[in-house]
């Protein structure tokens, strides 16, 4: 029953989807970096590198227009995007740490009020996950409950096999439908011995114990110790697959313009500052504390999930070398 897909056929699958008018987004090399970008042909797919930014931007772009307004002859009119015209999208070549995140974010984006910008894209997107066969020492998915071949969040899952190609597994109706539609590209049998997985060599974490420690240690010298070095940029939040904070701004002019929603980060001093200049999180350690609390306590308290998938991007790109895994290890030891 197991089906396999050669690398060539994976490329053909992308081409076939594009032919059908489906938007295909996958890791693509642009200049010096690999990012998730709309593909124009299958061969652009770059599966050997974890993209610099996470896949969340497929659902939650860095910046999007939520409405436009125009003032004419004393009348103001507002128009908003036609979300029913958002294209059907296939997000392909997504590693487990990136594939799991959108599902985690569903909770906040559908909490009471449904954010249509996120959820409509979710509805229209099929995620083709891929088991991870390369990792580095910043990776720690296994410490936060995932594995290099975790299926969580994927509709269709590819496991790289010996001799090239992938074993294919449809995980839900969306995945099956996609597989059925392109059945000719998938072959029965073939080598299905998986390549060795990239198991990060990290100490395990007890997330429940960490939550409990965070619960009792809002005030603790640790926060200052870690975060005094924090420069207060948004690199960690913007690269993170699970950070979902945003700002809403009006741009353009008084006469006409757009209201936009764009990524924001709790590390910025301005993030919580009141118009009166009073700031509930006045110094960097308080902001860093909020980041950890949000990911490992608040989100668990509210939605029962952890806002971290262990992709390691914040570790790789922290300008001052703050290592969230080291921080968690330390908390884990304390609790």
């Amino acid at each position: 029953m197991a089906k396999t897909l050669s690398l060539d056929n994976l490329h053909r699958l992308v081409d076939a989807l594009l032919q059908e008018g489906v938007r295909v987004v996958g890791p693509k090399r642009t200049g010096t970096l690999t990012v998730y970008a709309p593909l124009t042909r299958g061969e652009e797919l770059e599966l050997n590198e974890l993209p610099r930014r996470s896949a969340k931007e497929t659902f939650f772009p860095p910046c999007e227009t939520i409405l436009s307004f125009e003032k004419r002859d004393g009348r103001t009119t507002v128009s908003d995007p036609d979300l029913d015209r958002l294209p059907e999208t296939v997000l392909i070549g997504v590693r487990p740490c990136d594939a799991a995140a959108p599902g985690i974010l569903d909770a906040v984006f559908s909490w009471d009020y449904d954010d249509p910008f996120f959820l409509e894209r979710r509805k229209r997107t099929t995620i083709i996950g891929i088991a991870c066969t390369s990792s580095d020492d910043a990776c720690f998915c296994t410490a936060v409950g995932l594995t290099p071949d975790a299926r969580q969040g994927s509709d269709l899952f590819l496991v790289p096999v010996e001799g090239g190609g992938f074993a294919v597994e449809a995980l839900d109706a969306k995945g099956s439908a996609l597989k059925e539609r392109h059945a000719a590209l998938f072959t029965a049998g073939g080598n299905t011995v998986p390549l060795p997985l990239a198991e990060p060599k990290v100490e395990p974490l007890d997330l429940e114990k960490i939550r409990a420690w965070l619960d009792g240690n809002f005030e603790h010298p640790l926060w200052k110790e870690i975060a005094d070095r924090c420069a207060g940029c948004g690199a960690c939040a913007f690269l993170c697959p699970a950070c979902h904070c945003f700002d809403i701004v009006d741009e353009g002019g008084e006469g006409s313009g757009c209201r936009r929603k764009h990524w924001d980060a709790c590390g910025f001093g301005k993030f919580t500052m009141h118009a009166s200049a009073h700031n509930p999180r006045d110094v960097q350690p308080q902001r860093y504390r909020n980041r950890i609390m949000h990911k490992f306590k608040y989100y668990r308290d509210k939605f029962g999930q952890t806002l971290c998938t262990g992709c390691g991007r914040c570790i790789r790109w922290c300008p001052v070398g703050i290592d969230i895994k080291a921080v968690l290890d330390e908390i884990n030891k304390k609790s």
């Binding site: 939520i66 009020y113 449904d114 954010d115 945003f246 809403i248 701004v249 924001d264 118009a275």
Partner: protein
Amino acid sequence: MCIPDKNIYKPYLATIESVVDETPDIRTLRLVFQDEAVRDSFTFRAGQFAEYSAFGFGESTFCIASAPTRSGYIECCFRAVGRVTEALRRLEVGETVGVRGPYGNSFPIEQFFGRNLVFVAGGIALPPLRTLIWQCLDWRDRFGDITIVYGARTESDLVYKHELAEWQGRGDVRLVKTVDPGGNGPNWDGQVGFVPTVLEQAAPSAENTIALVCGPPVMIKFTLPVLEKLGFADEAIYTTLENRMKCGLGKCGRCNVGNVYVCKDGPVFTAAQVKAMPQEF
């Protein structure tokens, strides 16, 4: 609540019907929804807030300051301190603003039926209580004694001056108004002193009484011990929290105090709830 739009970030359009300058920098706007269907169906509870937009400048968060019992319009009251509030202040009668809401929880007014109420407010923090005050006055027979202690730095900093006069004239409300020492003019007929001190002197009974407190952090800080001294339990004291908000919908991630989202779990909290939160507001 009202006709839901798929785009939760899209405001209803409302026309400024009237403008009242409460103080040199605090203004009340009375807004009427342009869409008749919205006008008819828009309801809210005292304590809820909305996001008001000045198009081209952004959105700002204030409570709905009019009473839920007065339909056909809503009012907001704000001090011009930032980009949006200054832009809102520049708008004139007949111009358009955007309104999203109502959001957040509200005062559990049903639980106050049959009880005495003490309102304690300072400065620009009267509006969140004023909505409830009017609702209670409109339903006067459902409550016991109503006491309002309201103070500001100076006489001119008091908001809703006409309404203060009206309340003072009513026989069924006890209004204690005060200004900080030095803030009183020659014709001042109220008290002189800080709100907590004046509250202590007014000494409303805690018996079967709910206290509703709203004001700057420093006022709250000194008022809570006074209420405690007067015998109020933390569960019988209500206040509202304010934090910087953008979405008002529990998504943008900035208004939380610990795991409590002021925009969704608040803005109304009991003193007991506030004390249980991490002190980060």
